[in-house]
Symmetry: C2
């Protein structure tokens, strides 16, 4: 399927300019001015493409081609919000490429049999409120009873959205959701293939670990009688990294946040609080990884007579992509001449597809991220890869909807 | 030499109450109200003891017994300021015990041959301004040309002290300075002896080490292609501790402060800044310790292709106590029946004696700290040990001045 690559790039440039920050990157927080302006731009493109446009109760923007045979819809798209100093492609690519795909299909194949839609999902990043996957959760009817918080409800009203109507955003008429996204990592770039089909989105567990020793004078306390919480933590950090490395891909474990108390140059650390982010495509494997880390941290603390407290901050199960959709994407890639064939890749990052999987079949395509960079102004993908990804997406939608 | 132990304890209680903080401990920052009140109390005690009292240009408070033969003075004392939430004994003990010693000597031996003084040094802790050892530096004429900073000069004026006269506080008529102090560590408590004679005050080097890796998405970056600044730092922290432990006492090395960037739960740390506090009684040994740590950190960073920058924040040489004064303290302890004989101990903490060593012979006595605790409300010493320490101090002053 032939995609207008120049138009694709131009639209990505236009979106990137909306919310541009003076010190680099762009920022389109949910329900903010840049977010609204970007939505208006996408809405105009949808109108120009002849799509039927509607905005749902949380601000997801839908553009639809009716299907001659009716039935459940085939949907593509991604999110329109960004992190601070966000890049040009995260989220935006899936919307713009989806729009290009629908335009190309409408032009070359006319009206589909099944309804075909592109969606600009209002929020995925936790970009403004602690409510990430807000847009996709609304679509699957999974907004919690305490949501939105009052500041967020106020922000909705400022955009003409009524929080009381959120339940109306839920849909049960989606058959398949396909999302094109950048990898946000460097695995695909290092492989010979220019495209990946996502096998699963990793389950994430976030742990908080508190190590308690004894704060002592750094000058008067000999090494052999210290109870140094940071030296023990250092052993734990190395254990976390080496256990995950020994398990091999796709296991990852990261100590990202760490706080030392009292954090004084001449005091032996008495307490350290740190986090562990654990991911794996397989829930059993992730639990085994977590179990080994908990066990080794316990041993390290016990050997040194230190206190240890561990708690789970968050736990999300891995989500497998639907096998039928994966097979369809394989076929679309083969039809598009993707060579070597697409890599099968676990997504370590979270995506709307993992939420939508609760209500429909889902699948994802990844194009390479140059240098693996993402969530930063350097986020980039070779234009040839963008065109290829959008073309395979269009072919997959064609196979599903025509 | 018989010391009035009850009076000693009562005076320590009185000083501890001046500057008491609602949430525990006491705080007498330099030139503050509590500092001034404590000075007035000590001044009254000095007057009551029949000492000639004077306050020098920075607020050090001197109480003097004139000597029949004149000559240079024998001095004892310690500092009157405290850290926040400071304890009952740090600094205060050396002043109160020195005063008790002079009272006991005046009562039992009358007028000394050589002048005998007790000093309440105005500041040692860096308790308010970044000007620690302020009092002792003034005594040795080592106040820098840019000192005091303007806020500190203003604080001096509020206490009736003229910053233009600081140079007049310098003295070249001190023969020997002896300081009784709590150990602030747990080595003496674990030894059979109730007293220690300090061999040297450790030299301190403070390093700042910056490890630069690459911030990456914690979900999308496989373990084998990460450049994690924190995992490398963990190896460095373990190296710092194990090198010092392998060297054995009195070598100590401490990573006390640490900052992770960006410090986000789901981002691989791109940069870590941490400090190393290194101490040893012997300058050559400390430099060797530092050299090994620098070398191993360099190897760890190089193996992982990480950036590494190291700089020295502060470097103070170790100061040996004068051999004659150490021998005199041994004799005084033997005379006082100290059994087993005093431990020879390096002081890992800094003390005024290390500054005064530039102008006179210095020596220090340590009494045990219960549980090694100091700079906190739990700071305590067995009353029998306080009495013993004060008695040995008095005997040493007697040997020098009579």
């Amino acid at each position: 399927m032939r995609i207008d690559a120049k138009l694709l790039e131009r639209r990505l440039d236009e979106l990137y300019a909306i919310g541009a920050e003076p010190d680099g990157g762009t920022y389109r927080p949910l329900y903010g001015a840049a977010w609204a302006a970007a939505g208006e731009r996408v809405q105009r493109w949808m109108n120009d493409a002849g799509l039927a446009v509607r905005r749902d109760a949380v601000g997801n923007l839908w553009g639809r081609l009716e299907g001659s045979a009716g039935g459940k819809a085939v949907v593509t798209g991604s999110h329109i919000d960004t992190v601070r100093h966000g890049g040009r492609l995260d989220g935006a690519l899936g919307i713009v490429a989806g729009l290009s795909a629908l335009e190309a299909l409408a032009k070359t194949r006319g009206k589909p049999k099944r309804p075909l839609e592109v969606v600009a999902i209002c929020e995925e990043e936790g970009s403004r409120f602690t409510a990430n996957f807000w847009g996709s959760r609304a679509i699957v009817g999974a907004i919690g009873p305490g949501e939105p918080e009052s500041a967020m409800a106020e922000a909705m009203r400022e955009r003409g959205l009524d929080p009381a109507l959120i339940a109306s955003a839920a849909r049960d008429d989606i058959d398949t959701f396909i999302e094109l996204h950048i990898e946000q990592g460097a695995v695909l770039e290092a492989s010979p293939s220019p495209l990946a089909i996502v096998s699963a989105i990793a389950g994430t567990a976030h742990l908080e670990i508190v190590v308690t020793g004894r704060p002592d004078h750094a000058g008067t306390t000999p090494m052999d009688i210290r109870r140094d919480a940071l030296v023990a933590t250092a052993a734990m950090i190395q254990a976390v990294a080496s256990i995950a490395a020994a398990l091999g891909r796709p296991a990852v474990a990261t100590v990202g946040k760490l706080r030392v108390e009292p954090d004084q140059i001449n005091v032996v650390p008495g307490r350290v609080v740190f986090t562990v982010d654990l991911r794996h495509a397989d829930l059993g494997a992730r639990r085994a990884l977590e179990e080994r880390i908990r066990s080794l941290c316990g041993t390290i603390a016990a050997e040194r007579s230190l206190g240890l407290a561990m708690r789970t901050l968050q736990e999300r199960p891995p989500v497998s992509m639907h096998p039928d959709v994966r097979a369809l994407l394989e076929r679309a890639a083969a039809d598009g001449g993707v060579s070597p064939p697409p890599l099968n890749l676990m997504s370590g990052a979270g995506h709307d597809a993992q939420v939508l999987a609760a209500r429909c079949r889902v699948g994802m395509l990844f194009v390479p991220s140059i240098g693996g960079r993402s969530h930063c102004p350097e986020e980039a993908t070779d234009p040839a890869h963008l065109e290829l990804g959008a073309g395979v997406l269009a072919r997959a939608l064609e196979l599903l909807a025509y």
